[in-house]
Amino acid sequence: MNDAVTGKFRWGPADRSISPWQRILQKGGFVWQSAGVGGTTLLYFANCPRAYPGAFERDWPISYEEMIPYYEEVEQTLPVREATATSKEDLFFYGARKMGFAYTNEINLTQPGYRLQPNGILGINPMLNNPDFDLGNNQAVGCTLRGHCVNGCSIGPNVGSVAKRSTLVSYIPYALATGNVDIMPNSFVTAIHTGQNNEEGLYADSVTVRNTWTGEIRELKAKVIVLSAGSIESPRLWLNSGLPENEWVGKGLTTHMIDCVSGIFEEKDLMNILGMSDVKPYVGQNSAARMDYPGLGAFEPFGTSPGIYATMIYGTSQKGYYFQNQTNEEEPWDREGIIAGELLKEFMRNYDKTLSIVVFSDDDVSQKNGVTLDPVRMDENGYIPIINYEISDDDRERRDQLVGLAAELLKKAGAKTVSRANWPPDVCAHIMSTMRIGFVTDTNCEANQVKRLFIADNSVLCNGLGGPNPTLTTQALAVRTAQKIAEKYFP
């Protein structure tokens, strides 16, 4: 499912006889994105926390208070609710309490605290605990805790009521229901064209669209164009279209410098804590709890099927293989780097007794980080994007501190052995702030240099939000932008 080259979810054309689209990552990272109607929300965990107010105060040209009604609107629409925990979350909470962290009821976070994940997953199917209920012929609405969020959720009687609220099953059906919307799958915009007049100066006028199945090219004109191709493709399209130079187009990339730690537990300890002999990382919503730590970032327990799990916790590192890294006494993990050989098999044999945590650190915006065009290499959509991300000393310090807290939590919960992956910082799963509001756009998210061109994806975020998962904030900002477009151009 999550095979990024030949699997269902990949960044490439639907035609599997054609390769995925190329991106160049300089530091050994990779981009975790999916093309298709619904985009990367098809495979996201559906975690929907709000940004930290402090991150807004730091950089944003609009206030956090202004965002609150839009947050509320998206939270009601998706809808966002408190996740249903299973044993991996219970074990996480046990460790968090042992660490002395406090449970928090807040949703606008200024202090550290742990809580159930706010996520865009429907409530549990009320029949689920009824042993006579036939899961094989389930036609009811609601999550069944099958643990396939990242593999693509299909639980529900029809598209619009699927449990995990990717845009494919939420905003797109709502949009289609208005009768005003056409969806054109397998379409790739390769150029934005502009016109010029005295009142507006340069304005967006039309786009060139390429059908990725047939190669057919079309031009579409519009009164307003919304650029929403993600933090890599939006700047790429701007640059490939020859739109005006701007020192922030493609610059300021934040990624949360994601990292993973995992701990293996013994059966007797799990019996004492959970009343059962294993954690079963494949059971339940992929991530149903979180720890927020404004100033450092956030981390959350997660569990998935074993292919992605092994890749995330043991297969991705900027530090090489574990046996080459010495760990010192101060570091709360027992080893660092890629796990290979017999130890990998031994660790994976303990898959069902493993708790893993994914760590999102608060990274500063730097103009050095971002997306540029390769000067030579092209694909059918134009020059290909090169992604560059260098971690700064401040960023590294925050990251190490936060990963340390997550590792310590695992130890406090009773893990017998803890491994840190130490991902390359250019792993792009939370890809943000390459077309920043206030820098590339005005406060309505309309491009400063190209009127009638609005930006509505993660790229227009002004920074990395302090660490929380970005989708909810992007959706809330897009709702606000839609309102601004309606007011300005369709009064």
Binding site: M1, N2, D3, V5, T6, K8, S19, P20, W21, Q22, I24, L25, K27, G28, F30, T86, S87, D90, Y103, Y114, R115, I124, N125, L128, N129, L135, G136, N138, T144, R146, G147, N151, I155, G284, S305, P306, G307, I308, Y309, A310, T311, Y314, G315, T316, Q318, G320, Y321, F323, Q324, A340, G341, E342, L344, K345, M348, R349, Y351, D352, R377, P424
Partner: protein, 219 residues
């Protein structure tokens, strides 16, 4: 394949000429070269484990070689815009030769081995070689004369590790006879060996575990 690589790989020129068929390299020898290199790597990452088998049961013995993981690696590298499996195999072998040279002695292999230096290394040394070519501190073992652009292949080398984990622990090997088909044609024909080893029961319609006691708000 180009001449430069053949010389670099330590074979004699005459033997290389023997492999030429109407000016082209023999496809079978290229195939063996690539497959054996990736098998050596996959077998290192997920080896046979007689010790684990003795302690925890026979299923723990099996590894990447029984689950087509080398095929998965080749399929994944060749699935890119520029097919990269041959280039990655070349890089592994030339880096392995360099490594052997640094350890002293004459690493040149007899001509009939096809330049498979990587497979000649111990499992730990193989990982050290992969570590060198994937280190962010500079890649120095990229052979000159590679037909593939360095900029296309180098950023993908760390994927060796990720592809191995996905190939071995995901459902892919269980697709059996459909494993090379497009994703909508693949069928899970059996449970992968790895799932048996890790205790994963496979895809499920749901788990009746709602209402697990709530640690979050418990005082």
């Amino acid at each position: 394949m180009n001449m430069h690589f053949q010389k670099e790989s330590g074979e004699t020129l005459e033997e290389n000429r023997d492999n030429l068929k109407d000016g082209l390299w023999d496809e079978n020898s290229v195939y063996d070269y690539v497959v054996n290199t990736f098998k050596a790597y996959a077998d290192t990452m997920v080896p046979h484990s007689p010790d684990l088998a003795e302690r925890y049961g026979r299923i723990q013995f099996y590894g990447a070689l029984e689950s087509y993981t080398a095929e998965y690696l080749i399929m994944s590298f060749d699935g890119h815009a520029t097919p990269l499996a041959v280039a990655v195999a070349e890089i592994l072998n030339i880096a392995a030769k360099q490594y052997l040279m640094e350890k002293g002695g004459n690493p040149d292999l007899p001509g009939d081995t096809g330049g498979l230096y990587f497979a000649k290394l111990s499992q730990e040394d193989r990982l050290k070689v992969v570590d060198r070519i994937t280190s962010p501190d500079g890649i120095i073992y990229i052979p000159a004369g590679l037909t593939t652009m360095q900029g296309d292949v180098v950023p993908l080398l760390p994927a060796l590790n990720r592809f191995t984990m996905m190939g071995y622990y995901s459902e892919w090997s269980g697709y059996g006879s459909t494993r090379f088909m497009p994703p909508d044609k693949r069928m899970l024909e059996y449970q992968p060996i790895s799932w048996g080893q890790v205790g994963y029961p496979g895809p499920s319609n749901g788990y009746r575990v709602a209402g697990a006691f709530d640690f979050a708000k418990k005082k």
